[in-house]
């Protein structure tokens, strides 16, 4: 494997990895915000 191929694979892995980590964080935030809003809405 030459440097071009290895760096191309690293770039694709970085794109998918960073998006996966950010997605997980957004999903956690999305779920927490729903719970928070429900708690506040309770009398």
């Amino acid at each position: 494997m030459d440097i071009g191929e290895s760096h191309m694979i690293m770039a694709y892995a970085a794109v998918i990895g960073i998006h996966a980590i950010y997605l997980a964080w957004v999903v956690v935030k999305f779920r927490r915000s729903g719970k928070k809003l429900k708690q506040r809405a309770l009398p």
Binding site: D2, I3, G4, E5, S6, H7, M8, M10, A11, Y12, A14, V15, I18, H19, Y22, L23, V26, V27, K29, F30, R32, S33, G34, K36, L37, Q39, R40, A41
Partner: protein, 242 residues
């Protein structure tokens, strides 16, 4: 999560998978750069998605400033849109810098150089990181107004980044799309650009919409907490007077 969001996610993932397949196995390797040239199929769509996010952030910030004293609900929504798109834009900008650095190491032999395109892009990333830090750590009623003004000034760097390879010819290559006569890509390589451009734009919209909902809910919860505190204060004051 609402049904339309699931459908959008399914279509987005299908487009991204097709983009990945076409970029890796259908289009030929670049004649000059070999396999490293395939980084362009993720690098260019990333910048396009970032541009869309920062433009939406600018619009959200302008709407917030225009409506904050006249239409509170619209201003809250615009503010939530601004912060969510800024965050997604920062993620895309980071990915663009990382893929560009990996590409530079493979083709130029260096990870980084203080070329106008690279430097202006790093400054852009830092501006929006600063915007998010202001949102996170500044307190008080003026925080949102301050952040919106900052976003408007921050956006000035976006056209500078876009034009940098036209104004200054240094290390970064001249624009492939919309550049000088004769620039452009071989037609056999364009499908990988189109699929990934569509896929990453759709992904940006999806993730920003999730983040927007989370942000708006938090703002509503904060507002409700503030109203409850006011009600409690009013009750205690009334009881104390009796």
């Amino acid at each position: 999560m609402k049904l339309w969001r699931w459908i959008w996610l399914a279509v987005t993932l299908a487009v991204l998978v097709e983009g990945f397949r076409v970029a890796l196995w259908v289009v030929p390797p670049d004649a000059a750069q070999g396999q490293a040239g395939r980084i362009i199929y993720y690098h260019v769509p990333t910048w396009a998605a970032m541009g869309l996010m920062f433009l939406t952030n600018l619009i959200g910030s302008l709407v917030y400033l225009a409506t904050r004293n006249s239409n509170h609900d619209l201003a809250m929504k615009a503010d939530a849109l601004a912060v969510s798109t800024a965050e997604v834009g920062v993620i895309f900008c980071l990915i663009g810098l990382v893929t560009g650095s990996l590409w530079g190491r493979a083709v130029w032999g260096i990870w980084w150089t203080w070329d106008p395109r690279l430097t202006s892009t790093l400054v852009l990333w830092l501006i929006y990181v600063a915007y998010l830090l202001v949102r996170r750590f500044a307190a008080g009623p003026q925080m949102r107004t301050l952040a919106a003004v900052m976003a408007i000034f921050g956006y000035v760097d976006v056209p500078i980044v876009y034009m940098s390879t036209r104004w200054w010819r240094t290390q970064h290559p001249a624009p492939v799309f919309g550049g000088a006569p004769g620039s452009g890509m071989a037609p056999s390589m364009m499908p990988a650009i189109w699929w990934n451009l569509a896929g990453w734009m759709m992904w940006a919209v999806f993730i920003a919409s999730l983040r927007y909902v989370a942000e708006y809910r938090e703002q509503l919860a904060e507002q409700q907490a503030g109203l409850s505190a006011l009600e409690t204060d009013a009750t205690l004051t009334a009881e104390a007077r009796r």
